[in-house]
């Protein structure tokens, strides 16, 4: 189970292999991935949206009180994540909603509060803001303010997909600041999120829906939330990230390695609560930390990680914590290559930190 766990762990991980083969033939990455493959029963090769789709099928199959709803989910969804669900489970369990995120979120809270599993989809992360009040003031506080008389856990799980200005935002930091929610990240994680007795937000990086391919076991399995994974071992600097950004970070690690810098790369997987212990152990080994995320740098989740690590590892740190993140601007279309925390920015920051 543990091996299967690491496997499904990141569709992220598998993705890396798929993409890296296109860009470089670094044997070390392939080797480490091969090592982790050991002992895992093979599954079919699946891309990210198919893995999500499979998770949803399993969720609806194993719980007759689970529902999937949102804009355009009936025909399969704009990213095909909900393909086949209506045909299999019917229109009463899988249905379109009117175009209204606050309605989707509010409806989900009420449905979940009655003991159902409400899997609510928000088409793009950028559209989650109208739902913010329902998520932050209602879902997150439902259990606490009622003294546990009521809860909407096993509850609203929002899948969000970023894409450009109003389709590209990474609003995870907003939700990390909200006690009561668990933002998290593919099949095993999604199933764990669906079955968690707390309201969970699940963010999916849409550009990886098709790009990310790996073998995913067919069966029903869950991954532990809040357990980070060391994707790549190293000794000179610790890199921490989550989601699609890991791909970019892996490439940067490759480049840095050629220049003799040994990088340790950690996938947090869950943001709240995040695996502080794993990061602390790593920083105690390397003495240096770099955090990278697409979301704007100011007040981003990287700031929380940096502050916590400084608290825990102050005397061990050889250099300030580096953050390579998005700019403090709305996500711009033609300027995307400038805005993003690209591998070159990360490599520069790795070198600057190591040479501090």
């Amino acid at each position: 189970m543990a091996m299967a766990a690491r496997r499904g762990a990141t569709a992220n991980r598998g993705q890396l292999v798929g993409i890296l083969r296109g860009f470089s033939s670094s044997s070390s990455v392939v080797d480490s991935w091969q090592k982790n493959k050991e002992g895992i029963a093979g599954g079919k090769p699946l891309n990210l949206f198919s893995a999500i789709n499979q998770a949803l099928h399993i969720a609806l199959e194993t719980d007759s009180r689970a529902y999937v709803f949102g804009e355009d989910v009936s025909f399969g969804g704009v990213f095909r994540c909900t393909t086949g669900l209506v045909e299999r489970f019917g229109r009463k369990r899988v249905f379109n909603t009117p175009l209204c995120e606050q309605g989707i979120a509010g409806f989900a809270v009420g449905l979940a509060a009655m003991g159902n599993r409400a899997i609510a989809e928000i088409q793009f992360a950028d559209y989650i803001y109208p739902a913010f009040d329902q998520i932050v003031n209602e879902a997150a506080k439902f259990r606490y303010r009622s003294g546990n008389e009521f809860n909407c856990g096993g509850d609203p799980l929002w899948s969000c997909w970023p894409w450009w200005h109003y389709h590209s935002q990474s609003p995870e930091a907003f939700f990390c600041h909200v006690p009561g929610l668990k933002p998290s990240e593919a099949k095993g994680l999604l199933l764990a999120c669906i079955r968690d007795p707390n309201p969970v937000i699940f963010f999916e990086p849409k550009w990886l829906y098709r790009l990310a391919v790996e073998e995913v076991p067919d069966h029903d399995y869950m991954l532990p939330l809040s357990q980070a994974e060391v994707m790549r071992e190293g000794t000179d600097i610790t890199l921490v990230g989550w989601g699609a950004q890991l791909l970019v970070m892996e490439q940067a690690c490759e480049i840095a390695e050629k220049e003799g810098i040994s990088c340790e790369l950690i996938d947090l997987k869950t943001l709240i609560p995040w695996d502080k212990e794993a990061v602390e152990v790593s920083v105690n080994k390397t003495g240096r930390l770099l955090v990278s995320h697409e979301a704007p740098v100011t007040g981003g989740f990287g700031a929380e990680i940096a502050a916590s690590v400084v608290e825990r590892c102050f005397l061990r740190l050889e250099a300030p914590v580096a953050r390579v993140c998005g700019l403090d601007t709305p996500f711009p279309l033609v300027y995307e290559p400038f805005y993003l925390p690209t591998k070159n920015k990360i490599v520069d920051a790795i070198k600057a930190t190591v040479n501090y």
Binding site: K92, F107, V109, D133, R143, G147
Partner: protein, 475 residues
């Protein structure tokens, strides 16, 4: 089965006679032959020349035509042409007409009792037994007394906050009486009477207001934020109107379970301006769920009168905009409230549809203990509603005329309730607060690592500075 059908038929008949806007003919079908709702369109200018021409428009519901049914043109018997668009057939007219922003007349208001507590001749209403009638009456009196005493307690500094339902006792108690315990309630905050009716004790109310260890909410929220899983009354939250879409989700669950129950949600005139109101009504109509939307139009949202809240004819007309059957009632008439909710519930459950009830009333009290409403409305207006339009005395007259109640009963009841309240307050006041550990529980089902860390740090701080922390919270 027969009984239930008869009940439904009777309810429908009652609903029709009460004047629910919407379909009230038996044997409705979706295609063609839907109900006609004549809608006056425009006004004529005094000069006789006007930009629009008044005519009657018949609102009909048509089924959506499939591709093979699409015909380019069809002639109606009146010579108008009909064409298909997504959403169904519509008749074409050559004259350009705008629907008026308001109907010529406001939607009528259903009432059973006149201002003097006599049944209006010809009124149709759901009969109540003597027992039920008295239960309702004493519920209203208890609510009013509870409000008065808790309000005073706040003034004396014994509780931090309170808000009353003075003037809305009929809405609170009579609507609750028409529901069953299986109906799930999503309140705003001015509906403690529903809880009272369902059996929440005065002691339990007091415990929440004092935030002591017996409070089901574990002292986390301000006073009046009651909730009870056992009584199917979802915990009050301060944000306005957020509960309305919750009720729709809950109603969907009830429908899927096939339960003979509905969801009921309450909100004020102010709440109808929030996006959640619109989202919820639309969702409810599309998903065809058994939910009652109960709007307490009491004229004020804190200091904002309805003239500054909306320009529609109140809340009732908005139901039709979403395809929801609606009614306007006299919220200060206990029998009207009881009858309307009873009928609404029947329709909601048997037809799996949402119903909107707009109960006109007046908020006699200030918005809350943080408000002084004499700052924005005349004292004589408040007094008029407190006395001449009081729902309790009006209903009392009806009850007394039936020979079911006397002045002696009245004195006795008020005295007993007051005594029970004073006692409950004393007990609540002396009880301990919930222990410190409850600060960290229920954020999640199980406290997470960061919370455990923070609790440990907090306890260390308290150890070092015990005198800085309230002594009535056990560590």
């Amino acid at each position: 089965m027969a009984g239930r059908l008869a009940g439904s038929r009777a309810a429908r008949e009652l609903a029709r006679r009460m004047g629910f806007m919407g379909s009230f003919r038996a044997g409705l079908s979706n295609v063609g032959g839907g109900p006609s709702l004549p809608v006056e369109i425009c006004r004529r200018d005094a000069g006789g020349v006007s930009p629009c021409i008044s005519s009657r428009v018949t609102a009909r519901r048509f089924g959506t035509a499939g591709a093979d049914e699409i015909e380019a043109r069809e002639c109606e018997s009146n010579g108008n042409q009909v064409v298909n668009f997504p959403g169904g057939k519509v008749a074409f007219v050559a004259e350009m007409e705008f629907l008026a922003e308001l109907l010529k007349e406001r939607i009528n208001c259903y009432r059973v009792l006149d201002d003097d507590g006599r049944t209006i001749s010809g009124s149709s209403f759901k009969e109540v037994s003597k027992e039920m009638a008295l239960e309702m009456y004493s519920g209203m009196v208890t609510l009013q007394t509870m409000d008065t005493i808790f309000y005073e307690a706040q003034r004396q500094g014994r509780i931090s906050f309170y808000l009353t339902t003075i003037g809305e006792e009929a809405i609170n108690i009579a609507s609750a009486a028409a529901l069953t315990m299986d109906d799930v309630v999503f309140p705003q905050y001015r509906e403690p009477g529903i809880l009272l009716w369902r059996g929440f004790t005065l002691q339990e109310f007091a415990n929440q207001c004092f935030g002591n260890k017996y409070d089901y909410g574990k002292g986390r929220q301000m006073p009046i934020h009651y909730g009870s899983n056992k009584l199917n009354y979802f915990t009050v939250s301060s944000p306005i109107a957020t509960q309305i879409p919750h009720a729709v989700g809950a109603a969907y669950s009830l429908k899927m379970e096939g339960k003979q129950a509905c969801a009921v949600t309450y909100f004020g005139d102010g709440g109808t301006s929030e996006g959640d109101f619109h989202a919820a009504l639309n969702f409810a109509a599309v998903m065809e769920v058994p939910v009652i939307f109960f709007c307490r139009n009491n004229g004020w949202a804190i200091s904002t009168p309805t003239s500054e809240q909306f320009r529609s004819d109140g809340a009732v007309v908005r139901g039709q905009a979403y395809g929801i059957r609606s009614i306007r009632i006299d919220g200060n008439d206990a029998l009207a409230v009881y009858s309307a909710v009873h009928a609404a519930r029947e329709m909601a459950i048997s037809e799996s549809r949402p119903i909107l009830i707009e109960a006109l009333t007046y908020r006699v009290g200030h918005h809350s203990t943080s408000d002084d409403s004499t700052k924005y409305r005349p004292v004589h207006e408040i007094e008029h509603w407190r006395t001449a339009r009081d729902p309790i005395s009006r209903y009392r007259k009806w009850v007394q005329r039936n020979g079911w109640w006397s002045d002696e009963n009245e004195t006795e009841l008020r005295k007993n309730v007051k005594k029970e309240l004073m006692n409950a307050i004393q007990i609540s006041e002396r009880a301990e607060k919930p222990p410190l550990s409850e600060l960290f529980t229920d954020v999640y089902d199980v406290p997470t690592s960061n919370l455990r860390e923070q609790e440990a740090l907090l306890r260390q701080t308290i150890q070092r500075h015990r005198e800085d922390y309230p002594p009535d919270v056990p560590l």
